[in-house]
């Protein structure tokens, strides 16, 4: 008994988890190409990022001041808007909910700053890095391909706008960038969303984009 327990201890010491892409089985990085005009739709999963979910009362000036102090930026309080900051992006998700996307390296520091700044204020700060991922879609037919996947009218999606909408039978946050679209969603949706997107994009000419 004692022996097997110490074995478990040993294994735990050796346990060093590494974050793996939710689309790992598609081997995207080996199949990616330089983006060109030859294909109508390009897509790829973006590199791992730090995702922080922030909740609080947008009507409460104390909450707003505290988040501003921690982030060095005002959280977007206008529906369906996002902003770029020096640490990454801030997305409005709901009247009391925001998504902060930053680098894997700066996530912990930023989260600690937020938590400290929001101490005693009714709010929530949660690390969702393990639970979320992003797919970037670009190309001249990106909107055409996405129109097969979502009910949202892509013509209404101006740059920087973020909307929670459908993707097949699932839901995603869809955001327009200067060079295409960004799909932010739960990691467990990744397989379904990738296959769906690939199928929808195929008639327009689809390839996996080298995003770096």
């Amino acid at each position: 008994m004692a022996k097997s327990l110490s074995n478990i201890e040993l294994n735990l010491n050796q346990f060093s988890p590494i974050a793996q892409s939710a689309l790992q089985h598609f081997n995207l990085s080996a199949r990616q190409e330089k983006v060109s005009f030859e294909k109508g739709v390009w897509a790829n999963e973006t590199p791992p990022a730090g995702y922080i979910r922030l909740r609080g009362n947008a009507q409460n000036p104390v909450f707003l001041a505290a988040t501003q102090a921690a982030l060095g930026a005002h959280i977007p309080c206008l529906a369906c808007t996002s902003i770029k900051t020096e640490f990454g992006s801030l997305y409005w998700l709901s009247i009391d909910e925001w998504l902060i996307v930053t680098s894997v390296e700066s996530r912990a520091t930023l989260q600690a700053k937020l938590e400290q700044s929001l101490t005693g204020i009714h709010s929530l700060v949660a690390d969702q890095s393990g639970g979320m991922t992003t797919i970037k879609v670009l190309g001249k037919h990106a909107a055409d391909a996405l129109s097969h996947c979502t009910v949202y009218d892509l013509h209404a999606l101006n740059m920087g706008k973020v909307v929670g909408t459908s993707f097949g039978k699932l839901s995603v946050f869809l955001c327009a960038d200067h060079d295409g679209y960004r799909l932010l969603f739960r990691r467990s949706f990744a397989d379904y969303i990738w296959r769906y997107l690939e199928r929808a994009a195929e008639p327009y000419g689809f390839a996996i984009a080298n995003l770096s």
Partner: protein, 99 residues
């Protein structure tokens, strides 16, 4: 398919983004333990189900995930308006006061 304006997202969206949540403004008994089975069953299961104007709740399920209230005509599917719960309550009370 309905096009529903979400008062939180401030935008008209497809019905597919929403979940129906049933009749709005059914008052929950203040003391459920004290209710008779009939009264409690009535609270849970008896709905107005009118032909005509109906005040109902929807959840913007893929979007902001908040509840909103629609006034919808069940006979011709015309939507008179959509509000947040608190704004709709005022409209609803006004309508009942003037009826």
């Amino acid at each position: 398919m309905f096009v529903i304006t979400c008062p939180h997202c401030c935008e008209a969206r497809e019905e597919e983004e929403f979940h129906y949540e049933g009749e709005a403004f059914i008052a929950r008994p203040v003391d459920p333990e004290a209710e008779s089975d009939e009264a409690w069953g009535d609270y849970l299961f008896t709905k107005k189900n009118p032909k005509g104007w109906h005040w109902e709740m929807w959840n913007h399920a893929t979007g902001c995930r908040k509840i909103l209230v629609l006034k919808r005509n069940t006979a011709n599917h015309i939507i008179a308006g959509s509000w947040t719960l608190s704004d709709a309550r005022k409209e609803y009370d006004n309508e009942r006061a003037t009826a």
